[in-house]
């Protein structure tokens, strides 16, 4: 009896020191891995902010964010140029919003098609394909957009829009060879698989029992999709949208190839523009140290925006999640 309790109680008997040491070492090792993640993020925020600080303070935060002059200096030690991010903020916003506006309805449609219309024999390979497309590198999308999709498909569309709806400022011509419209549409194609995959997952998780209840009440399949599946998935759709938006805001290479490297704010989608991320890779190699600090300041701004979007997504999802458990009428 006594011996049995002692063997069950690891503290009660002198056990092999090697084993206990092993556990302690294991704990420290894996904790170190976890802490590394935290450290990298902390260092990432800290060091870049530190580098960007002189830029922010010399320009003033408000002017940096809203001004439209970007006139880099060539100093190694101090900030001599003018650095204002307004043009790039605008370009980032326009391309991202255009991409989300185009991609979200299509994503919901594809996800509904996969979850409720197509049989498994069609849906499974299609869903697989969508997932694979999310893996294609953005530089491939950029190359394809620049040398195939924009000149052959988007250019006629843009021409048509500017000729018929040119009186609306955003469609005003002429259509330049590189512009935010091209960048936004290609960006939409890039985030489409990402949003679709998440929304599909959410629709699939909607209980079959709810669908059957609606069918048994004489709902058509469209009514089941639109009045049962979509409403109950609203928080998830919002979350997926925010995630897609985050991706769109941070996307760099495809936009750098397509948006045109503009230096002014153009309301028209068909005039050259520039985004924050594209500006960074487009001018990095020709920049003096002070201008690189300014690019880092741009990066910090972009990082802050994406983080805010991510947090907001989380909050919205949580709020809507709470609501759906109680009363929405």
């Amino acid at each position: 009896m006594t011996s049995r309790t002692t063997t069950l109680n690891p503290g009660g008997i002198a056990s092999s020191g090697r084993g206990r040491l092993g556990d302690r070492a294991f704990r420290w090792a894996v904790a170190a891995g976890g802490i590394t993640v935290l450290l990298i993020l902390a260092l990432m925020i800290g060091s870049t902010t530190l580098d960007a600080l002189p830029v922010f303070s010399s320009q003033g935060i408000v002017d940096f964010l809203t001004g439209i002059t970007w006139d880099p200096g060539v100093s190694r030690t101090e900030i001599t140029g003018t650095y204002q991010a307004g043009v790039f903020m605008f370009g980032t916003l326009v391309t991202s919003l255009l991409a989300i506006t185009l991609a979200l309805p299509l994503s919901i449609a594809i996800a509904l098609f996969l979850s409720d219309v197509a049989g498994p024999r069609v849906a499974r390979p299609l869903a697989y394909l969508v997932e694979l497309l999310a893996a294609i590198p953005s530089v491939v999308y950029g190359l394809w957009g620049l040398h195939f999709f924009a000149p052959t498909v988007l250019k006629p569309v843009a021409k048509f829009l500017s000729e018929t709806l040119g009186f609306i400022p955003i469609f005003e011509g002429p259509v330049v060879a590189f512009n935010p419209f091209y960048a936004g549409v290609v960006l939409a194609i890039m985030i489409l698989p990402i949003i679709t995959a998440i929304v599909h997952e959410i629709f699939r998780a909607a209980p079959a029992a709810e669908r059957q209840a609606a069918y048994a009440l004489g709902a058509t399949r469209w009514e089941v999709m639109w009045q049962v599946v979509v409403p109950r998935s609203r928080p998830g759709i919002v979350g997926a949208t925010m995630l897609g938006l985050g991706r769109a805001l941070g996307e760099t290479i495809a936009i750098a190839l397509l948006i045109g490297g503009g230096t002014t704010i153009n309301i028209s989608l068909f005039q050259q523009g520039e985004s924050i991320a594209a500006k960074i890779v487009n001018t990095f190699q020709e920049s003096a140290p002070e201008a690189i600090d300014a690019l880092i300041a741009l990066g910090v701004t972009l990082f802050a925006i994406t983080i805010v979007i991510n947090m907001a997504a989380r909050l919205i999802v949580r709020r809507l999640g709470d609501l759906s458990g109680e009363a929405i009428s």
Partner: protein
């Protein structure tokens, strides 16, 4: 009872509903087509444009003396991609799996929640920002090169590995672990002899997907690896290149020969990434079938 009242609408209403149903199905079908056509096009066009240019010379040689002329290839880019991808994997996998083990083996630790949260935050960090960060802390000290490029890729892979590994480790049945503990195994013994082997294929899938993601990255490499004209085997201190970098540079160039090479490079990179993704998913499917 006025039960009959509501039924009166049936005829016209039912027909309208049937019509809306059919119309919306058509809309859904069109939407699927509208979305799939460009997505098919990207694969089709890349193959159509890239295949003719993908000669033995392209695969086995580096740049000619001039970018204007035809010929030459992306061998240096392929080597750079694999070199930096390999180094990044060596860095990110142990740290990522360790962090995931911390989350699953010590879930009650006060650090668990913040680590999970910030790993999530890290997945949302724009990759160009990662490049800026590595530039600011490493490149300014030790210059451009293979190693700093690999560090930036590793930082991109790390949160993906942590989150996927955590999910996989969580699915290892508790009974399996309890069985090991009941035999008197220590926690670390259980982890290394039971948990990790049981999760091995899932972990492989997660790692491969992270690698596929990293190999396709361009923006961070612009800021860390910079560029190279020939094969670079130096660990650090010498500019390095990669397939995405070469594609990016030549895609925006005005030379037809360069654009041809860019298409071939895109096909090479796409094949690399898609093969990784497909194999990774095949492993996952086989695991699910077991």
């Amino acid at each position: 009872m006025t039960a009959a009242v509501s039924l009166r609408a049936t005829g016209a209403r039912a027909r309208r509903r049937a019509f809306v149903n059919a119309a919306m199905h058509a809309v859904l079908g069109l939407a699927v087509l509208a979305a799939l056509v460009p997505l098919f096009l990207i694969i089709a066009v890349t193959i159509a444009q890239g295949l003719p240019a993908m000669t033995t010379e392209f695969l086995t040689s580096t740049f000619n003396f001039s970018r204007r002329v035809q010929g030459g290839g992306y061998l240096h880019g392929l080597i750079g991609t694999l070199y930096m991808g390999g180094l990044a994997t060596l860095m990110a996998v142990p740290i990522g799996i360790a962090a995931a083990l911390f989350l699953t083996e010590f879930p009650r630790s006060r650090l668990a929640a913040p680590i999970r949260f910030f790993a999530d935050v890290m997945t949302g960090v724009p990759s160009v920002f990662v490049g800026l960060f590595v530039y600011a802390v490493l490149v300014r000290q030790i210059g451009f090169g293979t190693f700093v490029g690999a560090v930036s890729l590793a930082i991109i892979m790390l949160p993906i590995i942590v989150r996927s590994a955590e999910e996989i480790l969580r699915t290892v049945p508790g009974d399996l672990k309890r069985g090991s503990y009941a035999l008197g195994a220590r926690q670390w013994q259980t982890v290394f002899r039971v948990t990790l082997p049981a999760a091995a294929s899932g972990l492989t899938t997660g790692v491969m997907l992270a690698v596929a993601r990293a190999l396709g990255e361009t923006a961070p490499l612009v800021l860390t690896a910079l560029a190279a004209q020939t094969v670079v085997l130096d660990f650090q201190g010498q500019g390095q290149t990669a397939l995405p970098l070469l594609i990016f540079r030549e895609a925006r160039g005005a030379f037809a020969a360069g654009q041809e090479r860019a298409w071939a490079g895109a096909l090479e990179l796409m094949a690399l990434v898609l093969v990784l993704s497909i194999v990774a998913r095949a492993i996952a499917t086989r695991r699910a079938a077991r």
